[in-house]
Symmetry: C2
Subunit: 135 residues, 2 copies
DNA sequence: CTTGGTATTTAGAATAAGTCTAAACCGAGA
DNA sequence: TCTCGGTTTAGACTTATTCTAAATACCAAG
């Protein structure tokens, strides 16, 4: 993927292609891992002639998320919440109210009729025991 | 729910029922919200004759999770990861390796055959737009 | 009862991801 | 060239959670 094609992608998404944004976006579009902001910083800082600030990495990643170029993946808890409901169920967070809704696991196939708009399916937590098979 | 029945539950799960643990477990088993550790502290500290430390709340909640009395619900990011894959898909985290596996959304119904043991279905992220309907 | 040992609780320090701030910088137009 | 808005920067700040080391409570054996 060339630098200028990454620039084109940024422009298409309404993001001004600064050198910092271009190298970060290029890295994000090429990698198939799910890097943290710090991992992005490590991977990308050598690609720039100037020092790259941690704040710029966060700013840029947030900009790219807002522009729809990349997506956030929540993997660990900042604010862990706890739940005494031990049945298999999903958690859905209303983007507007923050309210958490429990959905029994067997309803996963019938989700959309339960929901209106502006609703983010946030967390699907069931614990299986075992290992990933090779694909 | 009586204090002594909460004690019984703790004992059944192999947890020594200290006063702090009993009031925290009682609150967790009675509430249907998804409180944070701080919210638990606020709700529970007046129920004890002595001061309740924040560390004790965290210790106790972790103890209850380990014992299988309650479960963690991840709602916000501590370590946000980013992903350029914008197709609808799920994220599964291998508990052992930490490796994240993408699963296309249409495979949700056929999950278990893909997985072995020791595998935690961690995050299911699809954005719908709309609002929660009253239930 | 004592004593001793282990588990628990405590206050406060430490950690770490992410945001904020204020100054410096840059590039496009007048 | 000058100016202005947007961008980047270093470092301070915030906040959830964990760590630490001391104090306390509890139980078992003498």
């Amino acid at each position: 993927m060339t630098l200028s094609s990454v620039e084109d992608i940024l422009i298409e998404h309404g993001v001004k292609p600064t050198p910092q944004r271009v190298v970060i976006a290029k890295y994000m579009l090429e990698t198939h891992s799910h890097p943290t902001a710090d991992e992005v910083l490590q991977a990308v800082e050598s690609k720039l002639p100037v020092a790259l600030s941690r704040a710029t990495v966060y700013n840029t990643l947030n900009t790219l998320v807002q522009a729809g170029v990349i997506r956030e993946v929540v993997t660990e808890a900042e604010r862990t919440r706890y739940d005494a409901n031990m049945t298999e169920h999903h958690h859905f967070v209303d983007v507007k109210s923050g309210k958490i809704l429990d959905i029994p696991a067997d309803q996963i196939a019938h989700l959309k009729p339960l929901l209106g708009n502006n609703f983010k399916v946030h967390s699907y937590q069931i614990t299986f025991f075992g290992e990933v098979k090779d694909q």
